[in-house]
Amino acid sequence: MENLKEPQESLDTVDDTISWPDSRGHFGDYGGCYVPEILMYPLEELIAAYKEARQDQGFINELKSLLKNYVGRPTPLFFASRLTEYVGGAKIYLKREDLNHTGAHKINNALGQILLAQRMGKKRIIAETGAGQHGVATATVCALMNTECRIYMGTEDMRRQALNVFRMKLLGAEVVGVDSGSRTLKDAINEALRDWVTNINTTYYLLGSALGPHPYPQMVRDFQAIIGQEARSQILELEGVLPNLLIACVGGGSNAIGLFYEFLKDSNVEIVGVEAGGRGQTLGEHAARFHSAGGGRPGVLQGTFSYILQDSDGQIASTHSVSAGLDYPAIGPEHAYLHDTERVSYVSASDNEALEAFQLLAKLEGILPALESSHAVAYGLKAAAKLSKDKVVIVNLSGRGDKDVHTVADVLGVSL
């Protein structure tokens, strides 16, 4: 796959073709910078440093080299022939982000940001994690760069992702359990923000999704855009045409925007984001932010204006998903914009549908997908079945499922 675009272009074409966000991080009405005054200083510092870095050839070359030699990019675009045959509809391709070093797309962003932190002279890294994949990616790049690393993680997530907790510790990170609120990703972000606001001079906050205040949604998107850039040239090489449909799961939304971004201008490519439908339609039972009857509507949480699951008084709701990585009440602001402008459709897949897709992919293709990615697979099965055999679907397999084996065993009533 040598026709992979140069990261030089990957960080810069963005501005040529797409007119958002504006200079203050707005995607239409969404995004922006809703933070206490103290955080404006490190954010402005970060905005300036990122602006400079994305035009610096040295920075781009180093990132490019690490993505190739350390992460193992480009990741394959794999034709899932048995799954395709099973469904009996469109051809299903899987973008294998699960084959990245550390097992998920999260490392693309973690590497970009650790290089930025180094340029800024920050000696201490903090991050939040939900499923643990971003925590592992951050701990990994901190080990690589010999940098102090502290990861905040909700204690409920630590329980369901115990394997990733131990991985982070092996990588030399300090994992701090967060016992407030719902004890999941949202609460880990609150605690990371509290740490950052206390240690702004020494500390870099390595945020893991296309969320939070400007410039994070834009920066994380830019670092993840490589997924779609590769997929676009790969499918053109393999099929000679653009795909008819792109599918990715959406928690905060970084793997999704990473796949989607390069295709946004291709108006004949249909794009679908899959939220966590959880175990029911009522508030608290799911994590589908665009489900208006289920409590999703625009609001401000953790620095950004976007769709949020909340009660009528503006208190943030608890969420449920079998996958820790999708279990979050807000969605990245660019997704809110793409939703309202109807460029991207958003649907949901339930816990059960995701669990079925998990097992199906294991048996048919020999791939254990992350439970997060299993939501995208679940919708992919349904969508492909409705399309004719000459159509092409790309599903983003954002991570591998080894971390979820215990959860799946629990649900299936198997004791390990």
Binding site: R24, G32, C33, Y34, V35, P36, E37, I38, M40, Y41, P42, S180, G181, K186, I189, N190, L193, R194, V197, T198, N199, I200, G299, V300, L301, Q302, G303, F305, I308, Q310, S312, D313, G314, Q315, I316
Partner: protein, 261 residues
Amino acid sequence: MSRIAEKFQALKKVERKALIPYITAGDPDLAITEQLIIKMAECGADIIELGVPFSDPMADGPVIQRATERALTKGIKLVNILDLVGRVRKVSQIPIVLFSYFNPLLQFGLENLAKKAKEVGIDAILVTDLSPEESENFLNILKKHNLDMIFLLAPTSSDERMAKVAKLASGFIYAVSRTGITGMQQKLSDTVKPLVSRIRNHTNLPIAVGFGISNREQVKEVCYYADGAVVGSRIVAEIEVSRDQSELVEKIGNLVKELSS
């Protein structure tokens, strides 16, 4: 002239500074919040900051986080807090600043909130996570209803930001004494005094210092160079400790007396 401006002017005449206690509305319950405001006003508080509980208080330390959780467990809503201020106004004219994260206000409806806030007798609104950059719309709404918007400035704020905030602010400026979250501390940061004088270069508005002020000595120290001191976590911690005792209101009154002496 607004109640806040009048208050600072009156204090200036008698060469005093403002003591501004913060409490979370609904902690431990609304009836006691009402009594606490009235008692604190009697015991030397000059302005009250009344916190709206929010599920995700990212700028707050553990003391105020717990107060927020206690209030939310009681099911406190913004509309209850507005009604509470209406009841207080029948007996006290102490200026009240509604202190909130943005989302509960946004969901209430900003226009509706401003109208209702004015009706019940709130004087100003401070939104922890509404940066000056994002505040234009809400600021215009508050202006229309003659409500002050209180902005924060921190040791990390550039002179450029200070100038910008000075243009937008009314009522007073809240100077955040140090980086970090809300909470008590043993010793005030050395950055406070230079912060106040930097802000002073940009505005004639009163400047109140908050974050980490927890005893009479610190209030005194801050009031040498600023126009007021905000005390939050110390009072909220006392409410937490004494919340099941019948003498809670009396105790908080005594604490405010001590802080204001």
